[in-house]
């Protein structure tokens, strides 16, 4: 209470003054899209066509059209699955963990980050289905009372993963939806025609009464408190898909924290990649300030250090273990067939982010954008390195083999980015992409008398 309400917002959003300015600036983003948006949207639709076309082709011809073959049974699909689950993580970090820590810079970016989470999990969730080939049997993953009284093996990390990812999708979608209700109500009150009807349905008749806000605030805290361990658990479970097996290069105890740090690293980079154009196109400089990007860059740098430390400790432990096969696996990573993938990963995730130590780089939006692209690429390759280089070079030399992704796999992988973009573009035009009510909460409230905070509620 000692902190003056009159001072709030001055630090994070110095150029936003009045409460209804937020409505004006955010809701104008929901106006009729321009040519640029339609061009991007058209491109994404074409990409979705590629994605679905390649998938249908694979369903029609069978999984043989992919490059998956013994010994490499997990390839680009699993790599991309882990990549997208990882991307999702920083959205929850920003919306839930930073909420609990009361980080003052999260308000402007969290809605976009949370939308990114929901769409990324949606994208990720498709990949196991694509990967299993016979997608019409996908319901076997779900425990249901079938005629043979068979149940899934709950001791298997792959089944844990089904539970983790579906829970993550459900909870993050609910969390996202709940946060948008008051903002959609704000959009409803200013919309006409079909949009008004649509927003009325989405906002469920929200009025912003004291009673609603009271329960809303509490529910939001509990959801954040539940989402926080959830996000850590999901990527840990994903990492156990690997670590619980005895494949050299996978069987490591550091996998869970290593994966979680990597997930947040890639996710923050993706938030930067998405918010830079969003800020530019919609003129949101007053809301997404340099301070926000500076904070994201620092988070990126911090997680990059953890990830790089994990890389080094993996190599060190392989050497220090004295175990022939483990040593050979890691030597093969650096200098074997897939050396280019490993070095791309090391350069993009370990060396490029070093530039973020410099304030000038952190305060340069173009530089951050370029670095974030490098990180996105690097983190995709990290998963490729983990999945493919470990499988292609296991114990017995006669069982070694080379994996080449087929054109179908690459089309589906590339197409998934357009599928994600398709949803994200729709989101920027249909739902307020910046959290209106949370921003108002940190703005200085309008005061009639120049009274201090303490008097106001005495």
């Amino acid at each position: 209470m000692a902190v003056g309400t009159t001072e709030r917002g001055a630090l994070t959003h110095p150029d936003v003054h009045r409460l209804d300015d937020v409505n004006r600036d955010v809701l104008k983003m929901l106006s009729t899209p321009g040519k640029g948006w339609w061009a991007l949207f058209g491109m994404c639709l074409a990409g979705v066509g590629l994605f679905l076309g390649a998938w249908f082709y694979q369903i029609y011809r069978g999984i043989g059209v992919s490059g998956l073959m013994s010994p490499v049974g997990w390839g680009v699909y699993i790599t991309t699955f882990v990549f997208w689950v990882g991307i999702a993580h920083s959205g929850t970090l920003i919306s839930a963990i930073l909420f609990l820590f009361r980080a003052p810079w999260r308000q402007s970016i969290y809605r976009a980050a949370e939308a990114m989470t929901v769409f990324a999990v949606m994208t990720a969730g498709l990949f196991p289905l694509i990967h299993v080939g016979r997608v019409w049997h996908a319901y076997w993953l779900i425990p249901y009372p079938n005629s043979r009284f068979l149940w899934p093996n709950f001791k298997s990390p792959l089944v844990w993963d089904v539970f983790a990812v579906t829970t993550y999708f459900t909870v993050s979608a609910v969390f996202f939806y709940l946060g948008t209700i008051p903002d959609v109500a704000a959009a409803r009150d200013r919309a006409t025609g079909l949009r008004r009807k649509l927003y009325s349905i989405i906002s469920l008749g929200w009025q912003g009464t004291d009673q609603q806000w009271h329960h809303f605030g509490k529910a939001y805290i509990f959801l954040a408190a539940l989402a926080t361990p959830l996000v850590l658990s999901v990527h840990s479970v994903v990492s156990w898909d690997f670590a619980m097996s005895i494949v050299p290069g996978w069987h490591a105890t550091i996998f869970a924290p290593y994966f979680v740090a990597g997930a947040i690293f890639s996710g923050v980079a993706m938030v930067i990649t998405l918010t830079v154009p969003l800020r530019k196109v919609f003129g949101l400089e007053a809301y997404l300030t340099i301070k926000h990007f500076d904070a994201m860059a620092k988070l990126c740098l911090f997680t990059s250090l953890i990830v790089f430390y994990a890389y080094l400790s993996e190599f060190f432990l392989a050497w220090y273990s004295g175990e022939e096969i483990e040593r050979s696996a890691f030597w093969n990573r650096l200098f074997g067939t897939y050396w280019w993938a490993t070095w791309t990963m090391l350069v993009c995730n370990g060396f490029v982010p070093v530039m973020l130590w410099f304030k000038r780089v952190r305060h340069s939006i173009p530089a951050l954008f370029v670095i974030s692209i490098f990180v996105n690429i690097g983190m995709w390759f990290e998963r490729y390195v983990i999945v493919v280089t470990s499988l292609h070079h296991e114990y017995e030399p006669f069982a070694w083999g080379i994996y080449r992704p087929s054109i179908v796999e690459m089309s589906i992988m590339v197409g998934s980015f357009f599928w994600f973009g398709f949803w994200f573009l729709l989101f920027t035009r249909l739902l307020p992409p910046i959290a209106i009510q949370e921003l108002k909460e940190v703005l200085p409230p309008p005061m009639r008398k120049k009274k201090s905070d303490a008097e106001a509620h005495a």
Partner: protein, 172 residues
């Protein structure tokens, strides 16, 4: 048709709103309702809010989830006993991830159900006492009263210089 009449005042300033609520409550008005464009703890404080019962929903939901997670995995393991990886039929450590995910899932869904019940959404009835400005930048205070009490409330609310005052009858 209407059972109760009341007045709605919209304010531009937070301190006017809080003062109006406090003075109304001091004068003994029970049904004071406030509107705000964002969660404002000063208003909640003025209305004398306590803990929200949402937490009970969260707790019960989460515990149900834990029980369901362990219960279901154990029951299905016994239903078709199969030794996998040399582990016991009911191996609790392996079921922890499932039970954990179910805890979070049930807890989160119960929280949302609790929120919906307590804050009375979805609300399909058209709002009678409402101003679209409440989602923009204005605060609102609504009080239910009749006759002389209505005049008294009007005086208290007027003292804080509202932007607009409106008499509204709630058909409920």
């Amino acid at each position: 048709m209407s059972t109760m009449t009341g007045i709605l005042a919209s304010y531009e300033y937070l301190d006017s709103t809080v003062d109006a609520i406090e003075n109304l409550r001091k004068a003994g008005f029970k049904n004071v309702k406030a509107y705000a464009p964002y969660p404002e703890h000063h208003i909640e404080h003025a209305l004398g809010y306590d803990q929200s019962p949402v937490r009970v929903f969260t707790l019960v939901g989460a515990l149900t989830g834990t029980a369901a997670g362990f219960g279901f995995t154990s029951w299905t393991s016994v239903d078709w006993p199969l030794v996998v990886g040399g582990k016991p039929i009911i191996s609790i450590p392996a079921f922890v991830p499932i039970a954990f995910e179910m805890t979070v899932l049930f807890g989160a869904l119960a929280t949302v159900i609790g929120l919906f019940i307590l804050s009375k959404i979805p609300n399909v009835k058209p709002a009678v006492v409402y101003d679209p400005e409440f989602t923009a930048g204005r605060y609102g205070v609504y009080v239910e009263a009749e006759g002389a009490r209505l005049e008294e409330a009007r005086k208290i609310m007027n003292a804080e210089e509202p932007v607009e005052m409106r008499e509204g009858a709630v058909d409920a």
